[in-house]
Symmetry: C3
Subunit: 359 residues, 3 copies
């Protein structure tokens, strides 16, 4: 397929657990909210695709898979799967899942950092407490961390919802929380991230769509960002809508009408297994081709990083093959499109802080 | 197909009308809200599939179909279609459509009752009026009826919406209504159902998604149940989200993150005709395989019970065939999955009050 | 395909720009909100389908296409594409894009007018100002314009949202706006349109679903019309839900439960390109066959009118072919269905003010 050899930029993922995992531990990481199970689309995909990548027969049972995995050891499994993914640039959200150094030791490609706004703010609050000047400290720390990063990330969808209030200034009467949930603080923090992102050329990533049960999914509908997107249009900020399912058509619409909006399907791809192509097809109804990026949102299990890449290649590959068979696109245009989705759009949007000679 | 012979548990349906039906009477039952018509996906499916089941040529016109149907008589039609459905366990919501005895006379399999919370409460109110102690009477009656049932059902989506308030106690200033619509009373009643269900091991079924025009569809989005589901997680209650369309991806997400949540596509399947497989595919993107059950929501016309089963078999069968052709699943796993969806998941979740030797 | 030769009634479109268009000017009209681009599903479709209709090779590059287009001249391009669309009745929303006379000079078929409520009201306000009696003037002007029209249109989705308040009377304290956004005035205006439409037999068209960035897409969900539809059921009014994507399943549900509701996919079809059939399939899950109409919502570029018709024929044609191959429908029924969608439903719902002898 046209997608077989395209190098990928995984512009949003996390580190992996290289320790030993028993079946409950593995399955916990195979779903959102500790509800994972081999009896699911993603479970079938692990057995079908990750097993052969580790020299087991396809479709091997869960227990055989996990025994073999334990025998190989977590580091070896991670190194094999991550290297087999065909990704040569990884942008790590270090807000959970460990830092870039650990991850870089497992892969061949470049590893860059994405800073999570809420994590940085909470670290500052934990250090300095509810002192006057805490907001200035947060801003200073964000700027310091951003200097070495390729992007910013917010999980305001989890903490309040994407209908957060737009705030130019922090509240005056704020009692700093160790886990930020105050909508006025969050609204200010996201606005601060947008300003820093516009200034430094760092895209601002939003968790949207499904995630773990801490989330109220209705509050993760990217359409709730409409006012924020109107306000940030033309400021130089690039916005990345992550994951998006089941609101991927909503996200595609936003990318259609706002030039600074991009999107990916993130953790949707490994989760939906066989349906990756179908979800991509729905997304491409309205999403401009300049707007779609690739990410796995892999976290904990390197299987997620691997399946993200593999199922994206297969799903997009089949879709493009159908278009070619139907004479809806030329081979040259299809190749350009696959390259743009796989790495070109990310290369255009993220800062050229990483070496362009890699890959 | 793998699904041809799987026995089914129809875990949510209603009784049938065995009287004579003219064309307006038949079409009225062929749609939600008296808007049914042969000129629809379900109308095509009746002509394609129910006609041959009654020894007519496939695709026969509506008037020929109805004349033949009248000649056979309503009881004979019902008995033939219900027996041809391959269902051997029927859980009847007796809130509308008649009781279990009438239905049992038409079928071979077991018939068990699902108690509708609102109907029981309204019967008590009609009997005793706005007396002090009416809430205790409702609880006592619910417990008495539940003792002989396999499940509980609520239509709070119709009466208020799935964003009903969570109430541990009934309101003190309530003027009992003959048709319950007071959100505080409904919130208490659903909470009572949840407690009784957890205690007795009876799943609580929620109407979600599309239905007749009494409904405001926006209020039937199962995501509105998020707080209720958080509160009932770990209490022992099993929740069944019925129908779900067009919010079936939302329901699948809830089943992914909450272990006590299950779902079906209910009346969606007979209604969407050829599209049954496509809707199932969307649902299985995120729904764990332990969570999906089968029901027809058949009401009035035995054609609905029959089409529910037939289109479910065909839709799921094609989907599984595609997975097999694509080497995404083994035959053994596919057989296990079909059995789980058809009856296994229901058998695990509903009480073993029915004989396990049937079927 | 069965759809190749069906004549179409394009029951909602706009005039075209026959001037010279450079690439930025063309691409601006190729998307909603000035965000169009050849790098999109619709861009591929222009190159694939419009190029050969103008005697260029399929898939020609954007610049070659636009040079050839400039050589032919805007009028010639418009006349060729509009005539090649197989549409023989055009209902023009004259609220934007020019009047019927200009358009009629470019096409063979009949051209009739659809009056936009907001435009008429704003013209009156601009003429008379905030005088007492302005509402009576608006009503008089609407009735005068309606006498020569086949339908009415409202863009309340843009101006406030489809959750506008239902108002029988205009507000007393209104300060007339040159661009109406007052919800009470809009609610009264839509109600007035509904009464005039019922009285004169003119369908009332609603913009629903996606459009340009002036819109808050969440406020364009047709389910927000539920109370309005309950109130207008049985009054003689026909309601047309336009475009609908990504809420086309919601619109299909409304058409299922309300007999006076119809829908189309409008600008969705040219925009989604290869996906037209998939979106139609989702819509037909629940939409009764009497309810679906055809429109292109073409505006500015005659390419949109042409692609609307062509992609609708191809998408519906493939879908019907699949149904035939699967023995889900007879050829006679499929032909009837295609005719109903293409022109029959519109002919039944719109007034017979146009000559029935055309086409």
């Amino acid at each position: 397929m046209l997608t077989d050899d395209v190098r990928l930029t995984d512009h949003h993922c996390h580190g992996v657990d290289t320790g030993d995992l028993d079946r409950p531990g593995f399955e916990r990481l195979l779903g959102e909210g500790a509800r994972g199970s081999f009896d699911s689309a993603i479970g079938l995909a692990v057995r079908r695709w990750c097993a052969p990548a580790l020299d087991l027969p396809a479709h091997v049972g869960p227990d055989v898979y996990l025994r073999h995995r334990a025998r190989l050891g977590g580091r070896e499994v991670a190194a094999r799967l991550l290297r087999a993914s065909g990704v040569n640039r990884w942008f790590l959200d270090t807000g959970i899942g460990g830092g870039t150094a650990d991850f870089a030791a497992l892969v061949d490609g470049e590893v860059r950092e994405v800073i999570r706004l809420e994590e940085v703010a909470e670290q500052v609050v934990a250090q300095v407490g509810a002192v006057s000047g805490v907001y200035e400290r947060i801003e200073a720390e964000l700027r310091a961390r951003a200097a070495g990063a390729v992007g910013l990330k917010t999980i305001v969808a989890y903490r309040y919802g994407l209908d957060f209030p737009l705030r130019d200034h922090p509240p005056t009467s704020f009692a700093p929380e160790h886990r930020l949930t105050d909508p006025d603080v969050l609204g200010w923090l996201v606005g601060l991230g947008a300003r820093i992102g516009a200034e430094l050329g760092l895209p601002l990533q939003f968790h949207t769509g499904f995630g773990d049960p801490d989330l109220r999914l209705r509050h993760g509908d990217p359409l709730l960002l409409t006012d924020f997107l109107r306000r940030t249009a033309g400021t130089g900020l690039s916005v990345m809508l992550l994951h998006c399912w089941p609101f991927h058509r909503h996200a595609a619409y936003l990318a259609h009408v706002f030039e600074h909006v991009h999107l990916d399907l993130g953790l949707t791809i490994p989760y939906v297994g066989q349906r990756a192509g179908a979800v991509l097809a729905e997304t491409l109804e309205l999403a401009p081709f300049r707007a779609l990026c690739y990410s796995s949102d892999g976290y904990g299990l390197p299987e997620l990083h691997y399946l993200g890449a593999l199922l994206w290649r297969r799903g997009l590959g089949k879709l493009v093959d159908e278009w070619l068979a139907d004479d809806a696109i030329t081979t040259a245009d299809a190749e350009a499109l696959v390259g743009a989705f796989g790495h070109g759009n990310a290369e255009r949007v993220y800062p050229a802080r990483f070496s362009r000679t890699v890959g």
